[in-house]
């Protein structure tokens, strides 16, 4: 007790300051790169600042607009596809007495439980035969795979967190089963389902490996654009693209707890 009294609040401040540097330092460094026009050794800070690289990224031919469009389109399509498959499956897994339920749950766990690089590589080889390589449909399918897994898990957790007694009460009061599902079950599971959608959306925006093998070079998404710029040594272009990618990520991070309640979180994976 005495030690903690002595330590706080100064030590707390120092520790939290350090945490802040670890979290924000790298982000600040990235932000600096987006405006640095000239930055080389031995200068600690850029010697030229400006917007010229922004202009270069967003000029019509540079492909940033197409990549942005592709990224958002693919992410939305992946959300729709995964949720359409996951909501019924999640409901059934949470509520119905399924034969071999644990086997099914395990099957939905496998894609996340094993590294997906070999899978993507072989999907690409299979998609070549099906003519899906380098098409938007192929990319959406590849993005839906990890998305589907998240979606099924979270949807199952969300449906099993719904209070059954309310449903039973509604049924006792004479509501039809469909009404009790749409009026009672669905609204209660909605925050979890929204969270699942957000996960799928972010996962798709984040997705690099699958697009790298299935989409490139015909379909370029922002992560691919960023990677190419970075490997090509265009740090400014990479930093600007990275900054765009950060907007949805950070935005959702700030609101995530509104959607994902602790009780749902605690059930994920069970």
């Amino acid at each position: 007790m005495t030690i903690s009294k002595l330590l706080s609040p100064l030590a707390l401040g120092v520790v939290l300051g350090l945490v802040a540097f670890i979290v924000f330092g790298p982000l600040l460094n990235l932000a600096m790169w987006t405006f640095a026009e000239q930055w080389f050794y031995p200068n600690r800070l850029p010697t030229g600042w400006g917007f010229s690289f922004w202009e270069r990224v967003f000029r019509p031919r540079a492909g940033a607009w197409t990549s942005l469009f592709n990224t958002v389109l693919v992410a939305c399509a992946a959300v729709l596809l995964s949720m359409a498959l996951a909501i019924p499956a999640g409901y059934a897994l949470a509520r119905q007495a399924l034969p071999a339920r644990s086997v099914i749950m395990l099957l939905f766990l496998l894609p996340q439980a094993f590294p997906n690089l070999p899978i993507f590589v072989n999907i690409a080889a299979i998609f070549y035969q099906w003519g899906l390589n380098g098409t938007l449909v192929g990319v959406v399918l590849v993005h839906s795979l990890p998305g589907l897994v998240y979606a099924v898990w979270i949807a199952t957790a969300a449906f099993s967190a719904v209070d059954r007694s309310l449903e039973e009460a509604a049924r006792n009061l004479g509501a039809s089963p469909l009404r009790s599902f749409t009026d009672i079950t669905l609204p209660q599971a909605l925050p979890g389902l929204l969270a699942a959608s957000i996960f799928v959306f972010l996962d798709s925006i984040d997705e690099f490996t699958g697009t790298f093998f299935v989409g490139a070079p015909e379909i370029t998404t922002l992560p691919l654009l960023m990677f190419n710029a970075s490997m090509g040594g265009n740090y400014q272009v990479a930093a600007i693209t990275a900054l765009i990618l950060l907007i949805p990520s950070v935005g959702f991070m700030l609101v995530i707890e509104r959607f994902l309640k602790a009780d749902v979180l605690a059930r994920v994976g069970r």
Binding site: Q112, A113, L117, P118, I119, V121, L148, S176, P177
Partner: protein, 293 residues
């Protein structure tokens, strides 16, 4: 539409077990089909390709060559993954422990706001961030030099296994912490109060009462992190130059340079084996928990 009305129908007659079972299967079927086409099929192909030569004859050549060419990279991957997991677990426990047990409200609020920022930042972006931050003349070393904590000539690049560990940890800690803190918050406060009343200090309270109850979430978080690390292609490609590097890099190298699926898939086998061990531990824990519950 048709599925929800038939579902309503079966809910109306809960006593009839048979239709309910088949309805449940019907609801799961589309998702199951998707998983089989997008996952089981490529998985089977990867396993088969690893053991077949170009003319379709069964062989262990690829596996042997994968080991002889990339054995060091496999060890490197194991090392980096273990070190990252250790770091992630330690810091996640520390952060979520403080969030649950901390007594200084402003500090708890600030920490809760701070730790989550990297949560959804994509791996590619993390790679780019780390690449410029951890370089010899990157911001980290510059700050250390400017604040006098380090001599400028002793600045060295962290873009090796240390960089990978730090980068993976930076990206995964918020995720594991979110899961763990969520599980800790869901624990009945009366357990904690009771322990505090009989005089347990906060550290003992964390390790003897809270952590065991929240451990399953920690495991889930760590396994997902392990898989994420063994799947991440962009980060090792951007951070690590030359060999040894993560196996993902070498798999991509075999394919993009030589179109050699055999050795690439043989490397994939190894990453499966690695996660299989961890998954097995997790499953055993889950089964034991369900047996006791």
């Amino acid at each position: 539409m048709s599925t929800s009305s038939s579902q309503a129908h079966s809910l109306a007659v809960p006593s009839r077990r048979l239709p309910r079972i088949s309805l449940g299967m019907l609801l799961v079927l589309p998702a199951l089909t998707a998983i089989i086409l997008l996952y089981a099929l490529p998985l089977a192909r990867s396993l088969v390709t690893a053991f077949r030569d170009s003319s379709g004859v069964w062989t262990t050549d690829h596996v042997v060559r994968a080991f002889s060419l990339y054995g060091r990279d496999m060890l490197f991957s194991v090392g980096v993954a273990s070190a990252s997991l250790a770091l992630i677990a330690t810091i996640s426990i520390a952060i979520s422990g403080y969030l649950v047990l901390g007594t200084t409200p402003w500090a708890v609020r600030l920490l809760r706001w701070l730790y989550r920022w990297p949560l959804f930042i994509p791996f590619v972006v993390t790679g780019q961030i780390a690449r410029s931050f951890l370089a010899t003349n990157g911001m980290m070393n510059n700050v250390l030099v400017e604040t006098g904590l380090m001599a400028s000539n002793s600045a060295q690049s962290f873009l090796d296994w240390r960089g990978l560990v730090l980068t993976f940890a930076w990206k995964q800690i918020p995720f594991v912490t979110l899961l763990l803190a969520g599980a800790m918050a869901a624990i009945d406060r009366s357990h904690i109060e009771a322990a505090r009343n009989v005089g347990a200090n906060r550290l003992r309270c964390l390790f003897e009462i809270i952590l065991p109850l929240a451990a399953p979430s920690l495991w889930v978080g760590l396994i997902l992190s392990l898989v994420a690390m063994l799947s991440a292609l962009s980060v090792p490609m951007m951070l690590i130059a030359g060999n040894p590097t993560m196996m993902t890099s070498m798999m991509a190298h075999r394919i993009t340079y030589y179109g050699d699926y055999g050795i690439a898939n043989a490397l994939g086998l190894f990453s499966y084996a690695l996660t299989a061990v961890t998954a097995w531990i997790y499953l055993r824990l889950t089964l034991r928990r369900e047996a006791t519950a």
